[in-house]
Amino acid sequence: MSASVKPIANTRSGTGIPTARLITWWVIASEIVIFGGLLASYIMHRIGHPEWADSAAHTNTWAGAFNTFVLLTSSLFAVLAHKAADAHDGPKAAKLLRLTSLGGLIFLIVKGFEWTADIREGFVLSSGGFWQFYYTLTGLHGLHVLAGMIIMLVVASDAAKNQELQRVECIGLYWHFVDIVWIFLFPLLYIAR
């Protein structure tokens, strides 16, 4: 079945929310509990271990702040892409989406430099304590950024041809969610000490 042939099931909208956006909300809901479980585990350990603050002091607040800025800006592009898609301007939406994934790329590059610096200092995943949570949380989040970028580029290539414009909003929603996760990771990992 080619992508252009959709079942009628896909085109109905019993809830009043288009099917694509509906599934995006459910994906976000399930992601909330995944990140929530990991964050809850981290927070309760962190409160129980005040000494982890010493490890947290090694993280680079400026790099974290810069990355927050990058993600916020990319979120702006994503929502502008949604606006463009609403105006049926596919090529513009595609351009903005590509800018958004460029933001993701910058984010990952900065993250990579951070990890390299941390590892050079001898803090690795198996260092235990704070560091195992630091790498797991940022790693899981980084994977989401990466996945979002790839999907976004695919959506952008369709949007450039004015196809599947409803997907622009959906990938945007997902991207904002990833942004919100980072909004909480930033103080939890970089500021609280």
């Binding site: 085109t11 809830t15 009043g16 929310i17 288009p18 956006r21 909300w25 459910w26 976000i28 809901a29 399930s30 909330i32 509990v33 929530g36 479980g37 964050l39 809850a40 585990s41 927070i43 309760m44 350990h45 409160i47 129980g48 271990h49 607040t61 702040a65 927050t68 800025f69 916020l72 800006t73 979120s75 702006l76 994503a78 929502v79 502008l80 606006k83 898609a85 609403d86 049926h88 414009l165 409803q166 909003e169 945007g172 929603l173 904002h176 969610f177 942004d179 919100i180 909004i183 909480f184 930033f186 103080p187 939890l188 500021i191 609280a192 000490r193």
Partner: protein, 115 residues
């Protein structure tokens, strides 16, 4: 089938500006090294930022009502998880039990925890 224009698009750049200002506030707040200021700057601001993104970028407030409810219920489950687990994991001693290894991983000898 394009999405129907269901939102009045607000001025996104302005909201982005507010978010960036908030980011600066939280970073500056963390420089004070005063515990309460840092905590508010870090987490209070994070909640505000998350709300702004959810409201203005994700449009949850004008989505069908049950969508924000769904997200809140999922958050609630995480809170329930936290409430049920933290008495055991966050604390290192309780009624008739203690977790000496969590306090001092390398220290030998387990202190008995009498109430």
């Amino acid at each position: 089938m394009a999405t129907e224009a269901h939102v009045q698009h607000p001025n996104y750049v302005k909201i982005w500006g507010i978010l960036v200002v908030l980011l600066v506030v939280s970073v500056l707040g963390s420089m004070t090294h005063i515990r309460n200021v840092v905590l508010i700057a870090a987490f209070g601001v994070a909640v505000v930022k998350a709300y702004l993104v959810a409201k203005n970028f994700m449009h949850v407030t004008i989505e069908k009502r049950w969508v924000p409810y769904l997200l809140i219920v999922c958050l609630l489950f995480v809170v329930i998880l936290f409430a049920g687990v933290s008495p055991d994991v966050m604390k290192h001693s309780g009624l008739h039990w203690s977790n000496p290894s969590a306090n001092a991983p390398a220290q030998p000898g387990a202190a008995a925890a009498h109430e």
